[in-house]
């Protein structure tokens, strides 16, 4: 009998197992030796070959691995139909192919296998894995293979649309197996129950759990919890509550269980419908009770009794749940009762009496301030009261420094939160008064905090945003890097810096960020087949499902898609002075079509937002929103209250943004092509022009117009009339960039197609070129006119100018380069004579004119940058630092003063060596100096880009 079972890829499993064990324990040499001897016995077994390939790949011998894999694939695909193609072989091959970045080959193996078994189509092609597993199950009769099959079905249903019917199939398979063999693994039971739950068959699931199979659950409380949950799902609340009660008797500190217990007593359905969020009812949703008042009282009092009992029998002094349970019960009783302000007043009164400096008093004060922040709505307080709060918080922080004297540098200090809160308040003051001093103070206190302890990540995150807003991106990036963000945090945390970097001239750093992130994600996807297999082999079927869903979650990440699109756009920007380079970059992404495909793909699957937005500061709750760029609209307006809508809005915006960015490379390519085709036509050169490309560019222009929420012709109308109207320039900055792109690509398309008469209404002799030139020039002039000194004008003017120069203007430059190249082919001498020459010189004139206009435009920016950079550092320093050093009573400076005075009082206090040393190294003047030098770094980098651009344009014009 034994010979019938346990075949792996047609080889007895006992022969294969030691090899897998060796692989698992990373003894690759040993594994290789054994695999070689296995191959001598089964020289043509695809499975044995696949195993060897797997080992070689692990040893880093990729080429050998690939060639063996190909060999295995060959045998697999050509052998006669009597050869069994099994899942083990296929999945082993898949792992190796995938790790070698040849997923296509793995897929072709699967495809072949599918075509080989057309009679089993009732299970569908997509279920091939499952089919194979079922086949193996039939051959071997092992529970494991059955679970593989069931898991495959669950994955099929969970990760693609519809197919719920397939659950019946899985359930049927399991039932049949149970009837003949029963179940023997705890995980198998868990899969079975999940399967029933997925079909809402909670009653059946209960039966299974209460039946003999229930004994497979090894941990008693786990079983009780599950029973309770299932009972609650069928609204059998009484017995459910009993189950949870039993759990609490065994684990009195299980808070979640207590909430479920209470939920059952009060027959609160919401407790169980949303399984991912088993958290107690909030103030907002508590208005309706689920049971009658009398019943409520009775049930609550039974809960009180039970909790008392728990406290009585609890001999463990670290027990917290029962005590907090009393509070929760009280909370439920008064849920809709008391006024929050009354509570606050009471708390504040308490605070007044606790004047002493102790950790407990400090903790109390912090909690009161937090509650005030939470329910007191600081945005409605008058400016001077808000300022007093900031002063108090800063003072309290300084005064509590002695409490932390014994602490290690790694430990959190007491009162760390005070400075974060004070920063929040100061930024609010900056928003309301537009007084730069408050912004400086907010940075100053955080830098002070980091001087004392350099590990406080909350301060660092706040600084990342404050520096970004003040156009001091190099400092923001430095602070971000010190957070040591890696692994999955790249997915959840990098939104703090990435969007700002995308609009910056810090290309090398941006490139690092993007490539590190994409590499991490790709590595994970490559390894995930391997990891799925690991879970299968450990028979952790429920984890297989979780893991695959997690992988899906990452694969549909909006940031991942964005990074994949932005990385090549960055390359295009970096090389935009050299059309040949740009063309080879475009070639490597299938001339931009690759991204079109990507963006089409996302339409079929919803994008996932894995970013952890909770850690963002209040003024920029999402990465496309910054309240500081807008005017403060008075006391009725509180950003925090709008958070949910803001997140929804961002998710919509991101979809649009991704679409916009994904068509960009293709539009650049088509525009270059169109420009050169138009010149070639004109000079009578015989270049083959593909009319399809022109049509495609038009389709994309229409799509672009649609993203801007305009019909195509209206959009054309708008850009043609723009010099005579102002509205266009009042758009938000990001929209202007989009319009600029539209205009530039429109001109390129029309050069070749001549479909439109592009004329500026206020300039009758003009054409597409002139419109583009005047638009670019105008928007830059407008911006620079309204831009203040960089040092004292935080905001988005600088990023806007950077984007304008490095994107639309650069794309336009490429179109000009393309024309010039077609007009003056390298190595050829200019032809002389006749109509061609005349036409040539006309084009040449237009191009000269455009080049000159572009240079003039860039020169404006260049002059402005030089002006900023030439300002003496001391003057800049004074401009900033004086904002907090003035002696009058109004405006910022109070927090700074209190910081200084508290520190001078600290001179005689014992703070411990470490803190004392840090205090001695603190010099507030360093902060503005660093800001200035950070800004200079950014400006210089931008200056360099502008200079290179002018230089390359001037060189171009020499050719004409």
């Amino acid at each position: 009998m034994a010979s019938k079972f346990g075949l792996a890829g047609g080889i007895p499993e006992r022969r294969v197992r030691p090899i897998w064990d060796a692989i698992d324990s990373r003894q690759f040499k040993n594994a290789l030796k054994q695999s070689t001897s296995l191959l001598s016995k089964y020289p043509n077994s695809p499975y044995a070959l696949a195993l060897k390939a797997l080992i070689l790949e692990r040893m880093g011998k990729n080429e050998e691995a690939l060639s063996i894999c190909l060999n295995a694939k060959e045998i697999l695909l050509t052998k006669d139909s009597s050869n069994v193609i099994d899942d083990l072989t296929l999945s082993t091959l898949q792992i190796v192919f995938q790790r070698l970045d040849h997923l296509d080959m793995a897929t072709s193996c699967y495809e072949f296998a599918c075509s080989k078994y057309p009679n089993n189509l009732e299970l569908m092609m997509g279920l091939f894995n499952c089919y194979i597993a079922i086949k193996m199950y039939k051959i071997a009769g092992e529970e494991r293979f059955l679970m593989w099959a069931v898991c495959s079905i669950q994955l099929q249903v969970c990760c693609s649309d519809g197919g719920e019917k397939l659950f019946h199939l899985a359930e049927g398979l399991l039932k049949k197996h149970i009837a003949s063999h029963s179940l023997h693994e705890p995980e198998a039971l868990s899969v079975y129950i999940t399967l029933l739950e997925q079909q809402s068959k909670y009653g059946n699931a209960l039966e299974v759990l209460n039946g003999p199979l229930g004994s497979l659950m090894m941990i008693e409380v786990d079983k009780l919890r599950l029973q309770g949950k299932l009972l609650a799902m069928v609204r059998d609340y009484g017995p459910a509550a009993e189950c949870f009660q039993k759990v609490l008797e065994l684990c009195p500190d299980d808070w979640e269980c207590f909430l479920q217990y209470l939920g059952c007593l009060l027959e609160d359905e919401s407790m169980f419908t949303n399984t991912t969020d088993p958290h107690p009812v909030s103030l907002a949703e508590c208005n309706s009770f689920h049971v009658e008042a009398e019943v409520f009282d009775a049930r609550i009092s039974s809960a009180v009794n039970f909790v008392q009992k728990l406290i009585a029998i609890g001999n463990n002094n670290s027990l917290r749940c029962p005590y907090l349970a009393n509070l929760e019960i009280e909370r439920r009783k008064i849920l809709c009762g008391k006024e929050k302000n009354v509570i606050l007043k009471k708390l504040e009164k308490e605070l007044e009496f606790s004047g002493s400096v102790s950790t407990k008093a400090l903790g109390q004060s912090i909690n009161v301030l937090k509650i005030q922040n939470l329910i007191g709505d600081m945005f409605t307080l008058p400016v001077n009261e808000v300022e007093d709060l900031a002063v108090r918080m800063t003072q309290m922080f300084c005064q509590s420094l002695p409490l932390s004297k014994e602490l290690d540098v790694q430990d959190s200090m007491y009162g760390e939160e005070l400075l974060s809160m004070a920063c929040d308040v100061l930024v609010q003051l900056f928003w309301r008064t537009r007084n730069l001093g408050y912004l400086l103070e907010s940075i100053l206190i955080l830098e002070f905090g980091l001087t004392i302890r350099r590990y406080i990540w909350q301060y660092k995150l706040l600084l990342v945003h404050l520096y970004s807003h003040w156009n001091t991106l190099p400092l923001a990036y430095e602070r971000y890097k010190s957070l040591d963000v890696k692994n999955i945090l790249l997915e959840t945390i990098s939104h703090h810096i990435l969007p700002q970097m995308l609009a910056s001239p810090m290309w090398a750093d941006l490139n690092d960020l993007l490539s590190e992130y994409v590499k991490f994600m790709d590595d994970h996807f490559r390894e995930s087949a391997d990891l799925t297999f690991l879970a299968y082999r450990h028979r952790n079927y429920s984890k297989v499902i979780e893991f695959v869903q997690f992988k899906e979650r990452l694969q549909c990440s909006n940031q991942y898609l964005m990074a994949k699109i932005e990385a090549p756009i960055l390359q295009l920007k970096q090389n935009s002075n050299n059309i040949d380079e740009v063309e080879s970059i475009l070639e490597s992404s299938k001339f931009g079509t690759h991204f079109l495909e990507l963006s089409n793909e996302i339409r079929s699957k919803p994008l996932i937002f894995n970013e952890d937005l909770k850690l963002r500061p209040w003024w920029t709750p999402t990465y496309d929103k910054n309240y500081l760029l807008e005017a403060f609209e008075g006391a009725s307006y509180c950003p925090r209250a709008n958070l949910y809508n803001q997140i929804k809005q961002t998710e919509e915006n991101i979809l649009k943004l991704i679409e916009k960015r994904s068509i960009l490379p293709r539009m650049v390519y088509l525009s270059i092509h169109s420009a050169s085709a138009s010149v070639k036509k004109n000079v009578g050169a015989n270049g083959s022009v593909d009319p399809k490309l022109s049509v495609e560019l038009k389709v994309l222009l229409e799509r672009h117009a649609k993203i801007l929420e305009f019909p195509f012709m209206d959009a054309v109308e708008l850009v043609s009339g723009v010099s005579s109207r102002q509205k266009f320039f009042e758009e938000p900055n990001s929209d202007i960039i989009d319009w600029m792109n539209f205009c530039i690509f429109l001109n390129a398309w029309n050069l070749d197609s001549h479909e439109l008469m592009l004329t500026d209404r206020s300039d009758p002799g003009s054409d597409g070129w002139r419109i583009v030139n005047s638009l670019l020039g105008k928007s830059i002039k407008e911006k620079i006119k309204s831009a203040g000194e960089v040092v004292s004008s935080p905001g988005d003017t600088l990023p806007f100018l950077v984007r304008l120069i490095t994107e639309p203007l650069s794309w336009h430059g490429l179109i000009i380069q393309s024309c010039v190249r077609s007009l003056v082919p390298t190595g050829k001498k200019k032809k002389k004579g006749g109509a061609t020459e005349q036409s040539n010189s006309q084009i040449s004139y237009v191009l000269q004119d455009s080049i000159q206009s572009l240079c003039d435009t860039i020169q404006i920016v260049l002059n402005w940058l030089k002006e900023q950079l030439e300002k003496p550092e001391d003057e800049n320093f004074e401009a900033i630092f004086s904002t907090i050093r003035k002696q009058n009573n109004n405006g910022p400076g109070k927090v700074f003063q209190v910081l200084e005075s508290s520190l001078s009082l600290m001179k005689d206090v014992d703070l411990g060596d470490r803190i004392l040393e840090s205090l001695n190294s603190w010099n507030p003047a360093d902060v503005p100096r660093k800001i200035i030098s950070g800004q200079r770094g950014l400006l210089s980098e931008f200056l360099r880009i502008c200079e290179l651009k002018i230089k390359s344009l001037q060189e171009l014009s020499v050719h004409l």
Partner: protein, 192 residues
């Protein structure tokens, strides 16, 4: 109130964020996956009132000689949530599962010699004993205590026994693991 529950794969996002707030650990992400996909019963998280993960324990099963035993790979509790007994609860949950699910006879762990707080937790509260000292165990050259705690050694429930067609193909109680990655560059276990 914080509750202790079994980890899910999705918790990984928050577990790694936990590392941002504690000391940075240099475990690769796949190492977490390796644990949760191999011994999902041994990973527990501490979740606070708002659903935030504030601590976790990462553990695995090992087989040296014939004694099946568990090993605590990593224990972390956010500094904001120390002194609440969370580390003890996380450890107890993992130890119980080792014993009940896998029939582990003892559980081992490594701790930095200098980490007094963690050492006290292990010796006093959790009753671990020093088994050995591993010289220069950590990348920075610090020694580690190899500590052990005897479990009741309850034999594994015979859910595999009466079953003729089963193969313990890497999946049963124990399986060897990625030794090379066991040591992160910083502390292997940390807690106060």
């Amino acid at each position: 109130m914080v509750c202790i529950r079994k980890a899910t794969v999705d918790d990984l996002l928050a577990m790694q964020a936990c590392n941002l707030f504690c000391l940075p650990e240099n475990y690769q992400m796949k190492y977490y996956f390796y644990h949760i996909l191999s011994w999902p019963q041994l990973l527990y998280v501490a979740e606070d009132y708002n659903g935030k993960i504030v601590g976790y324990v990462l553990a695995k099963m090992e087989e040296e000689s014939s004694e099946c035993h568990g090993h605590i790979t990593s224990l972390a509790v956010l500094r904001t949530h120390r002194k609440l007994g969370l580390a003890t609860k996380l450890m107890t949950a993992a130890q119980n599962a080792m014993e009940q699910v896998y029939g582990a006879e003892y559980v081992s762990l490594h701790v930095r010699k200098s980490n007094r707080a963690a050492f006290n937790l292990y010796t006093e509260t959790l009753e671990y004993k020093i088994h050995d000292v591993e010289a220069k165990y950590y990348a920075d050259g610090e020694d580690a205590y190899d500590m052990r705690k005897q479990l009741k050694g309850k034999k594994q429930q015979p859910h595999h026994h009466h079953h003729h067609h089963h193969h313990h193909h890497g999946g049963g109680c124990c399986s060897a693991e990625m030794k090379a990655e066991e040591k992160p560059e910083t502390a292997a276990t940390k807690t106060n």
